[in-house]
Symmetry: C2
Subunit: 359 residues, 2 copies
């Protein structure tokens, strides 16, 4: 069997194909988004996600076309003037650039690729939103949850938004310390791409309402107040990707059956054996050197001139690595470690990487 | 077999399930949107749509999350101050309202539900965009193509945008008389919902560039210049609904094999027999009385107090009508007449409607 470790769109969740067959049998593909059946799928996925990720009841769950859309919508709805961005790779930089494109006075703290942030980052006062990318898909840097959770203490007025696109459902977020988090379904949840999931609390709602009252444009059909008005009916403003919402509801139920603790333990086990293999390898090494910043969900191998032979050997075993991102395309490989990847698949991956070193 | 006549999300195209199976077999669900395979799917769907709809080569085809998104993006990218909207139902009104929400000075010409526009609508000069809804899904009113094509003559400066959400691929648009047209895939193309298709010419591109140069916000990842820059590589700015783009490419190929002329002839035949049945029925009648405005693709039956018994009889034959829209929910039924609906299915529909009258 072919296994893709590309960090997104990535290997489908192992139950996905069955759910797709069932969806076709039961005509989910032509289900009206104003029907009772859709409302019950919407309710199920919301309550399932809340249970899986321990999301408190005062948070709301909305659907968009992509996580890229949420970058834009979050700035539109949560920022009048100033936003602050932790930038340490291509995706966190894109979030910052989107704020600039929307004419905000966006401020960034930036570190080089492969690095995280020291504790003493000073955030100017008066920032309305602090955007932090939990897991930089481009470099395999993950910011420690303690770091993210500590932001609130010194920035009480700011709305804290976490981009967890390529890490959820793994991180155990403390929702009392953040105001919003979002992801897209084609990473850790193993769905086909085409759906973003945006989780916000009432502070976000109040901020959007305040901007609207002051006559500031917060968008139209996907503004937070419009999303909420529809969500209260278990509906969406537009005709959404009904099929993806259905598939997400099914995968979330499957994950609840496996148990989030087991998913987290498996993730840590698989990450540990892969980092160990890279650290003890004669030719390869982890790109992210500082342990505290090593992502558990996107593991980047610095392969230098061995990218070719390593890739070749992996493909012989039907294992598909992800290319390095951008400037690192020719020297790195990226390995997604998502819930769909089994311990056995990672053990095989590690064995094959070991073989490459035996010359 | 169950047949849905709900005008969207509607009955899947009759080949869709096979394409979905093939997509699952070939792992389209985890295909990278930066891969060569994706680029070739993108190229295929673009050239296929251009061939099917006779779109000239100077038009560009972009993908969004929904047609609702295109309402917003078109106003953002094509209007600084003034837009003009033909409003004759819930969906054309929504387009107008979105322009207002984006702080534009939107002007409308409005007629009651079930009506079209007389030739003498006067459009104020200086309108940057004229928005016209070819087919009002809520009421079954379709504006004659001659009317749409005549707008250019008297409004040479305006960009003419056609909402053809629930009519394409049926209408034979003259692309020399319009600047943009859009649709969503869950109507005439018979796909699961979750993809909008936005077709624009270089006048639209120039207008967006001009707004951008003047420092006006035209959005971020889905601004026209960003969409074009990616489209040139057969890519999209964000991770899109790859699966839907693949399915669309397959359905378009199927439609090319059937032939657009045959699709149009079948559409007209099916519409003719259903309107005839409604006109000659003792209890039912077409809601749209003026022949020139009777939609070929969404046919609305005024059923008065007979909605219940008619629906019941149809369901006995596994035929699912669409509810009337909004205030007409209790007195009307809507019937989609899309390429997936066969002549035989419409003949059965007409027979069953006939039975209801025999008391």
């Amino acid at each position: 069997m072919q296994v893709s470790f590309i960090p997104g769109p990535s290997q489908l969740y192992f139950t996905l194909e069955d759910h797709m067959r069932q969806a076709m049998r039961t005509q989910v593909g032509s289900l009206s988004h104003r029907s009772k059946e859709f409302e019950s799928i919407f309710a199920e996925v919301s309550s399932g996600l809340k249970q899986l990720l321990s999301i408190p009841s005062d948070f709301h769950i909305f659907f968009t076309g992509s996580a890229t859309e949420i970058w834009e919508r979050s700035v539109q709805n949560l920022v009048d003037m100033n936003s602050f961005h932790f930038v340490n790779g291509a995706f966190s930089r894109r979030y910052y650039e989107i704020a600039l494109q929307l004419s905000k006075q966006a401020v960034k703290a930036e570190v080089p690729a492969g690095k995280g942030f020291a504790d003493e980052v000073s955030i100017p006062s008066g920032m309305e939103m602090i955007a932090v990318t939990h897991n930089e898909t481009s470099t395999g840097v993950s910011l420690p949850l303690d770091f993210i959770h500590s932001l609130r203490e010194k920035n009480k007025e700011a709305i804290i938004v976490v981009d967890a696109v390529s890490s959820l459902p793994y991180p155990k977020l403390d929702f009392t310390k953040i105001d919003s988090v979002f992801f897209s379904v084609q990473k850790g949840f193993g769905l086909p791409a085409g759906l973003g999931v945006w989780i916000v609390n009432d502070r976000c709602m109040a901020k959007a309402d305040q901007l609207l009252t002051r006559g500031i444009s917060i968008g139209t059909y996907h503004s937070l107040p419009t999303l909420l008005a529809n969500q209260k009916k278990n509906q969406t403003p537009e005709t959404p990707n009904v099929l993806a919402i259905y598939l997400l509801s099914k995968v979330v139920q499957d994950m609840l059956r496996v148990g989030i603790d087991k998913i987290r333990q498996d993730t840590e086990y698989k990450a540990a054996i892969l980092y160990h293999a890279l650290e003890s390898h004669p030719d390869l090494s982890p790109f992210v050197q500082e342990k505290q910043f090593q992502s558990k969900t996107v593991i980047v191998a610095d392969c230098k001139e061995y990218v070719g032979p390593v890739t070749q050997r992996l493909l012989q075993h039907n294992l598909f690595p992800g290319d390095g991102y951008g400037e690192f395309k020719k020297t790195q490989l990226r390995f997604a470690n998502f819930p769909t990847h089994s311990r056995e698949q990672f053990e095989l991956l590690v064995d094959v990487l070991g073989e490459v070193g035996d010359r």
